[in-house]
């Protein structure tokens, strides 16, 4: 899956020790598994089940998603800008869904 389906917002140059807000959005229908076609057949569930945020390889935030999360899941959370490096975002879900996105961060 192309990484263009994910959008992340990380402050590029925070001060060391600053609490920064991170937003991560990914394109996904989050099909609940409760909807039916006009013929009554259940549309199978197809959701993102897990989101992980790694700061220089160390997990700083993780979320388990359920069908009650709206389509194109958006997650907003915070972390302490401790060091320069890479913040990586991983979404995994049903039907082998997997998207990885990353952002550079340079603390000043």
């Amino acid at each position: 899956m192309a990484s263009a389906s994910a959008v992340v917002n990380v402050p590029a140059n925070p001060k060391r020790g600053e609490i920064i807000e991170i937003k991560a959005l990914v394109r996904h229908a989050m099909e609940t598994g409760f909807r039916r076609t006009q013929l009554g057949a259940v549309i199978p569930r197809d959701i993102i089940r897990q989101f992980v945020c790694l700061y220089n390889g160390v997990e700083v935030f993780r979320a388990e998603l359920h069908p009650a999360i709206a389509a194109n899941p958006l997650l907003t959370f915070t972390t302490v800008a401790s060091e320069s490096g890479t913040i990586e975002f991983r979404w995994t879900g049903d039907k082998g869904f997997s998207v990885i996105e990353s952002a550079r961060i340079t603390v000043v």
Binding site: F34, R36, G40, V60, A63, E64, A68, I69, A70, S82
Partner: protein, 154 residues
């Protein structure tokens, strides 16, 4: 050979059957099921109310995408921080909404996302602290256009 009469009877039966299945397929969770889901998370611990501020719009026009935020009062130090936040609903098809896991590196225990709300109901957020205690905050929301009117919203 199928006569017109037999065909109509069969078609009527089929339509009726479909109506029944879609009605049963739209069963919502109950507050009891929510308590069960909460119990799975907290085990035998007691949940105290307070320290958790759950924020949703009180009036929801469209339950498909509703902003939800949770803020937990915590110093977020290695000794005293929020380990996890779980969000539950009473009347969505499933009680679980989202579970997030954080730690002292979060700096603040503030999270936000967008959720689906099926019906007028109470939404609850439960925070698990590093000392093993659980705190909760709830909010009642009114869905003006019930999700149940639009088939398959949730």
């Amino acid at each position: 050979m199928t006569s017109r009469r037999n065909f109509l009877i069969a078609a009527g039966g089929l339509a009726g059957g479909m109506g029944l299945t879609s009605a049963s397929g739209r069963a919502h969770a109950t507050p009891e099921e929510m308590q069960e889901a909460v119990r799975k998370v907290i085990g035998t611990s007691r949940v105290r109310s307070g320290r958790v501020k759950l924020d949703l719009p009180p009036l929801i026009d469209n339950g498909n995408s509703v902003s939800l935020s949770v803020a937990v009062e915590s110093p977020m130090t290695p000794a005293d921080h929020v380990k996890a936040i779980h969000v539950f609903t009473e009347k969505n098809p499933l009680p679980n909404v989202v579970s997030v896991y954080l730690g002292p590196r979060a700096g603040r225990a503030n999270i936000a996302t967008r959720v689906r709300i099926a019906d007028t109901q109470t939404v609850t957020a439960i925070a698990e602290m590093s000392d093993g205690t659980f705190w909760s905050g709830s909010m009642s929301v009114v869905v003006t256009l019930s999700a149940c009117l639009e088939d398959g919203l949730i």
